[in-house]
Subunit: 150 residues, 2 copies
DNA sequence: GAAAAAAGTAACTATCGGAGTTACAATAAC
DNA sequence: GTTATTGTAACTCCGATAGTTACTTTTTTC
């Protein structure tokens, strides 16, 4: 596996669900994301547990957004996913008694810690309504271009 | 694989090499890092290509540091390793035409970009002499504790 | 109450990259 | 020429997400 794209995918699903009439089934969401229903259920489980969405079984069932987009930040979603590991880079721990390893890990760990802080700050600064507005901007720009090309 | 610990390990090796009399063989370095000689050679190859160390074959051969520690930053070493991927988190690219995906990826990518900037800034701010000094501080502190415990 | 539509979930496979290992070639010192 | 050493290719191992299959459970609808 190269990347963990769950955050990106779940956000994608939530924005689509906001524009969606009524409930969206896992199957529908899977098509929107280019994946399948089981992956959608698995990934959305954390959001359901956190109370941002609910799911209903049976005919007419599916996923419902329980919250205005403006009240969910990217950070909230990241936490609801279980705060998965951010970095591919890590510290060696083969010689935990070695003071050189400790000094190196303190230095690298400090830089990684600052990077993680910056990431969390960045995720807290944006809510899903911001992303939805950006989507709308992109839609309008695209239709302008289409008209002018016609 | 969980983490890429090459940066941490190479730094560990370089600090040890600075305190080492003459050349250090891959075998010796492997023991210091808790790994084996082939992994050491593979990982150090980038540093050799970048000119920070050289390696000599044959009896009496091994690795030599070519540069004062103060002239190498953590960032330099990261680049010499080939600037490996920093994040385990990534963007979805299953629906590249989808404007929702684009908006989501712009938002998440922006946060990741700021985090990467913070990481690089942190890596540039520390050179290997800083790490070596921290190692010496740790050594002194430890021997004080040992004396006072005796 | 039977059929159908949906979620929930377990279990398995695919994939990807670092790490570990083995094997062997190339080189240099003595 | 023997030995110590690097250089490298080729393979296995591991861990995590992602994909897939199969089955159970729940709920609606007829």
């Amino acid at each position: 596996m190269r990347h963990d794209s769950r955050l990106s995918r779940v956000l994608h699903a939530l924005i689509h669900m906001d524009g969606h009439e009524g409930r969206a089934t896992s199957e529908t969401i899977g098509h929107m994301l280019g994946t399948n229903a089981v992956v959608v259920r698995r990934t959305m489980a954390g959001l359901r547990d956190a109370g941002y969405v609910c799911s209903d079984k049976g005919p007419g069932g599916g996923w419902t957004l329980l919250c205005p987009l403006a009240e969910i930040t990217l950070f909230d979603v990241y936490i609801a996913l279980g705060a998965p590991p951010v970095f591919a880079l890590g510290l060696a721990d083969d010689q935990p008694e070695c003071l050189v390893e400790q000094a190196v890990n303190a230095a690298v760990g400090d830089a990684l810690g600052k990077a993680a802080d910056a990431l969390m700050t960045g995720l807290k600064a944006v809510n899903l309504a911001d992303v939805a507005h950006d989507f709308e901007r992109r839609s309008k720009r695209l239709s302008r271009h289409r008209r002018s090309a016609a």
